[in-house]
């Protein structure tokens, strides 16, 4: 048996291509690897998403209504309380709707992403599945919920003056940008929570604070000019602002804000991806 027989072929013959600079080529290879792996494991993502949704919605006929009930009640309460405070905003309920539904997507996704690796511990320790599958499927599941609740709530708000307009055509793009942004954060949170188990709690506390710091209940324009920078440094502001533009104000967003939102989304995804991939191999030992 040729055990411990080292290959006699020199190293150079394995890699005839001239060596590229190490750093970019490593990440380029990881990206290519992941693309291939995700293509191969697409059925897994598909199954996880479809079946989660089916379990959630088919078991109880009310399943979907329950997911609607939460934002609906929140919106009802908040608009009742705050519409006196924010008299400047006409149709405050619709304004709330345009901001709260996407925020709900962000916050639920992040909370779920934080747990997605730990919850699937049994799976990860038993069989090989690329770990990117878990955060991605969480995001996709919530994306479906987001789309459905946007549609359903829009219909419910029709009597209150919700109307379709041409800028709504940009909605898919805006949702996509938000999803990319959320995925990036979700990857980072999933990694952190796998290594430090109390990160999940921090995430929910942080999300609560972030919620109030983002112009969802109020309008950024109502604040004095000198404190506008507080919103400018808040990455979520740009996404919520796009939703406000498209759904509430029915105006075409500034091209500049679309560009900024895209840049933030891509940077977020890049950072999240690097964090996740650099720790991916160690995760199984920490479960």
């Amino acid at each position: 048996m040729d055990v411990r027989a080292d290959s006699s072929i020199p190293h150079a013959e394995f890699f005839p291509a001239p060596p590229e600079p190490q750093r970019p080529s490593r990440w380029a290879r990881r990206l290519a690897d992941d693309r291939r792996e995700l293509a191969r494991f697409l059925p897994v993502i598909q199954n996880l998403v479809v079946q989660e949704l089916r379990v959630r919605y088919q078991r109880s006929f009310l399943g979907f209504l329950w997911t609607l009930l939460n934002p609906l009640l929140m919106m009802a309460t908040l608009s009742w309380v705050f519409s006196y405070l924010f008299r400047t905003i006409e149709n405050y309920t619709l304004f709330l709707f345009a901001g709260m539904v996407p925020w709900g997507f962000l916050s639920v996704s992040l909370n779920e992403c934080a747990l997605c690796i730990i919850v699937n511990e049994g799976l990860i320790r038993k069989i090989y599945v690329p770990k990117l599958v878990f955060p991605i499927s969480r995001i996709l599941i919530n994306l479906v919920t987001l789309t459905l609740s946007l549609g359903a709530l829009f219909l419910l708000l029709w009597p209150l003056g919700a109307r379709l307009s041409w800028p709504v055509l940009l909605l898919p793009l805006v949702i996509l940008l938000l999803a990319v942004f959320t995925l990036g954060l979700g990857l980072a949170v999933a990694t952190a929570n796998t290594f430090y188990r109390d990160c999940g709690h921090l995430v929910s506390v942080f999300l609560q604070a972030w919620y109030f710091a983002t112009p969802i209940l109020y309008r950024a324009e109502d604040f004095p000019v000198e404190s506008q920078w507080r919103f400018r440094i808040n990455p979520a502001y740009y996404f919520i602002d796009l939703f406000h533009d498209v759904i509430f104000a029915a105006r075409w967003p500034q091209p500049g804000s679309v560009v900024v939102a895209s840049a933030i989304a891509i940077i977020s995804l890049g950072i999240g991806y690097v964090i996740f991939k650099s720790q991916e191999d160690k995760m199984v030992f920490r479960l």
Partner: protein
Amino acid sequence: MSSSSRRKTRWFSDSEPTRRDAGAKAAVGNEPLIELKEVSLRFINYADKQYSLKRAVLDLVLRREDPAPVSEFWALRNLSLRIHRGERVGVVGGNGAGKSTLLRLLARIYPPTSGQVVVRGNVAPLIEMGAGFNPELSGYDNILLNGAMLGYSRREMIAKVDGIHEFTGLREFADLPLKYYSSGMYMRLAFGIATEIDPEILLIDESLGVGDATFRDRAKSRILKLLDRSHAVILVSHEMETLRQVCTRGLWLNRGELRADGPIDQTIDQYLSWTREVAC
């Protein structure tokens, strides 16, 4: 930190664009299906597995030295081996010798701490059955889900559903959520799925005795059929007779190190005489 570990650890899979083949095209036919080059795997026992941010901050603030005493344990040490097409390898060794870890390494569950693992072919792990079963879903859906995790598309799995039902006899329960299955039915389904596929490299961990007596006989014959279909088999077992019957080559692992590698009978004899010596 990650750059150094990346340099040490390289993972290849069958679908990797095989630049290596371009250089050594002549050797394609007899390239080993599995190649381990000086592979080591270290487990770190975290005294507190649930390490929390709170603790990390406290440790930093209070300047506690080495707060959670960790012990490390080399499950595999400097393992090099090649397994070629057509080989059936039996792995023997005491408890904690690294047999199951080796299988998990080959199944890509554990990444090597250092060294290189090359696997050319799709791997079917019969290590833990029923991985990825979702108790809320029906038996049928679980077949599709489990198949997806083993790398089969929905369509390919739908074609296999009949064969699985045929074998497990659970056709009438196909629409029942898995949580209502008895544990025997659960195992049968898991076994049925795992053995219906056509793997190139088959990894089997022992204790495949599932279900009642009649099922066990059928399970055994089904495993033997599966062995014939796969190109390479790695079998971990404590039953020396089974190993002698099934395998052609034997590996003896002791404390993560390769003690012997040769024809199965020879390896088992060496191993048995060693255990007798230790026992005396």
